[in-house]
Point group: C2
Chain length 369, copies 2
């Protein structure tokens, strides 16, 4: 077997998983991929946490789109996270739509998809499910948890929830809580989904999905992933193939066409209800609130080293959010390195080729190996 | 008659108005309000240009919502634009839905609403229609044209299109062209409207309007009118009346409830097709492009004095956009004063109480009187 392509796996754990919202999930299905081999001492495991619309296919082809893994720039041969040295685990988050328990899963109580009867989750619930997966895989302590964006929130939650189970924590382009503006953009996306008559209060699994609403949600979100300067550099006011304005409502500008494509292609690979549940979990995320209102308290029991990275043009989770985390880690006496990288690409920068990012993560991981 | 309440007027001009897109509009209906009395020499007229979702009710109650005029902080007794000194004119823009020709108007060719057969407009077309109104009112040269946001674009277009017809030009929180990010946000809004099945390719005037889609469009746009800091100050992560999170999809956070209200209340007073046409006109706006690619060329024939104002937290039309206009005015040898004001409220600041803004506009207008 060629392990470059990952090992697609799925496990059905009996649970029960008690959730922050008071609900209980049983069974707990987790779809995951692994790359590399676990050392005999189990000490080389690296858990990668994915972002809102990511999945477990971090370094192997996506089964629906056929596209390469979403973080092959970070994970692979000669990359900072290398299956030759690390046993890499990446699981679809709880609430997702790539095989882990989510709104499209069958509710054992009814034999039909949960839809909106699926319990509302938190980022900590996602992390608890990942810990159950590691138990199942026989992994006690992780060499590192690594994530960008919502993946970074999970990494932070890992450090706070299982302080003895990770030696290093890498948090890229992320935040310790969702701001009012972050919540506002997510709420627009949810309202766009729910405004689509095909949504039918979530019960669309036997009919057609609310593709138009989900596409609008994706379009709105996508703007927040890019910087104004990046959009100007990439598209500016350039027109499509046409020579002149159409004086109509077709996509005249390249940026319109690009956004429409982002919306349309997203709905082929993502479940609208999962989008509702995962955005909700992100909006609920406030690590300080979970620890008596002081972020430093979240990190006091931690034994991990931390690496924080932000990007200067990221206005979704701006550098100030990373800096607040660094200050809290300092207050908690945790070892932390922090760097703000320069990139024209806004929040998306963490997914793109970035030799600086790779150098930072590689150096940080090797320092502890 | 108490002129504090404005004079609601409507005129049907024969036209034809030749449009930038090649179409012809005839007749041209213009709904407008006036405040104050025109001097015998006709020299005290001030034209106010409204923003995307504004209207002619600048300083008198809105006939649908009953709310006070949208700019009573700038226009009124003792305000910088004062009906005691000025003859104030404000017209609903072409393409609008408050009485001027727009997609909801009856197409004389069919006897039915234009809907999407209404011609696509430019900001310059709006300005040409305003000039026709001034001809009708017997106003030759304006003491000033004043506008914020899209109103500022019209003011700039006035200076470029009718350089001999204005003595002063006040441009607040605006830009000389729409950026890729500006276009992207508008495109999301248009797609939200068009994704609503009730939109029916614009032919909804006999049925129900696409209220859900328009509400989503308004919500997305509204985020761009506020600053991240302003949202944090106003709402932060504060919950609604509830004590704790609901672990559901109701509006848990105050910012969600506020946004939903913005969306829902907007659809009562605005036509979805007008939203499409006016956003399109804004996206097409690029004053430099209309003048051989050099913005300074737009201003060379102008005899007006200019006043530019930006707000430091406005990320929709940031200060850099105003500065680019100032540089072009400098290059064209036009007299210009420019100030960036500090406000926590983002783009919306131009509509809010701002003693500094009033001082700047008052001083600028009086200097030329």
């Amino acid at each position: 077997m060629d392990e470059r392509f990952g090992l697609a796996r799925h496990v059905r754990l009996p649970g029960p998983l008690r959730l922050d919202g008071g609900g209980v999930l049983a069974p707990v299905e987790i779809a995951y991929e692994t790359y590399g081999t676990l050392d005999s001492d189990g000490g080389n495991a690296v858990l990668i946490c994915h972002a809102l619309t990511g999945d477990q296919h971090v370094a192997s082809a996506h089964p629906v789109t056929g596209k390469a893994g979403w973080w092959t720039r970070m994970v692979g041969e000669g990359r900072p996270i290398d299956p030759a040295r690390h046993f890499v685990v990446c699981a679809n988050v709880l609430g997702g739509c790539m095989g882990s328990s989510g709104p499209a899963s069958v509710d054992p109580a009814t034999g039909r998809p949960y839809a909106m009867h699926f319990p509302v989750l938190t980022v900590r619930d996602m992390v608890r499910a990942q810990a159950m997966l590691l138990d199942h895989l026989g992994i006690g302590v992780l060499r590192a948890v690594v994530g960008g964006s919502m993946g970074g929130m999970q990494a932070l939650s890992w450090a706070a929830t299982f302080p003895d189970r990770l030696r290093a924590c890498v948090v890229i382009a992320s935040a310790a809580r969702h701001s009012a503006q972050n919540i506002a953009f997510h709420e627009v996306g949810r309202q766009a989904v729910m405004a689509d008559p095909k949504w039918q209060a979530g019960d669309y699994y036997d009919t057609e999905p609310p593709a138009a609403g989900l596409a609008v949600a994706r379009m709105a979100a996508h703007i927040t992933y890019l910087s104004e300067a990046g959009l100007t550099e990439k598209f500016g006011r350039r027109l499509q193939a046409r020579e002149a304005k159409s004086f109509g409502f077709d996509a005249d500008f390249q940026v319109e066409s690009y956004l429409r494509h982002q919306g349309i292609s997203f709905v082929d690979r993502f479940d609208a209800n999962s989008y509702l549940y995962i955005t909700r979990a992100m909006d609920y995320f406030d690590l300080a609130e979970e620890h008596g209102g002081r972020l430093a308290n979240a990190f006091r029991p931690s034994r991990a080293r931390f690496c924080l990275v932000s990007f200067d043009t990221d206005w979704l989770y701006p550098t100030a959010e990373s800096r607040a985390i660094v200050h809290a880690l300092n207050a908690a006496g945790a070892p932390v390195s922090f760097v703000e990288l320069s990139s024209p690409f806004g929040h998306d920068a963490f997914l793109l080729e970035s030799p600086e990012l790779n150098r930072v993560v590689d150096g940080f991981l090797r320092a502890g190996e």
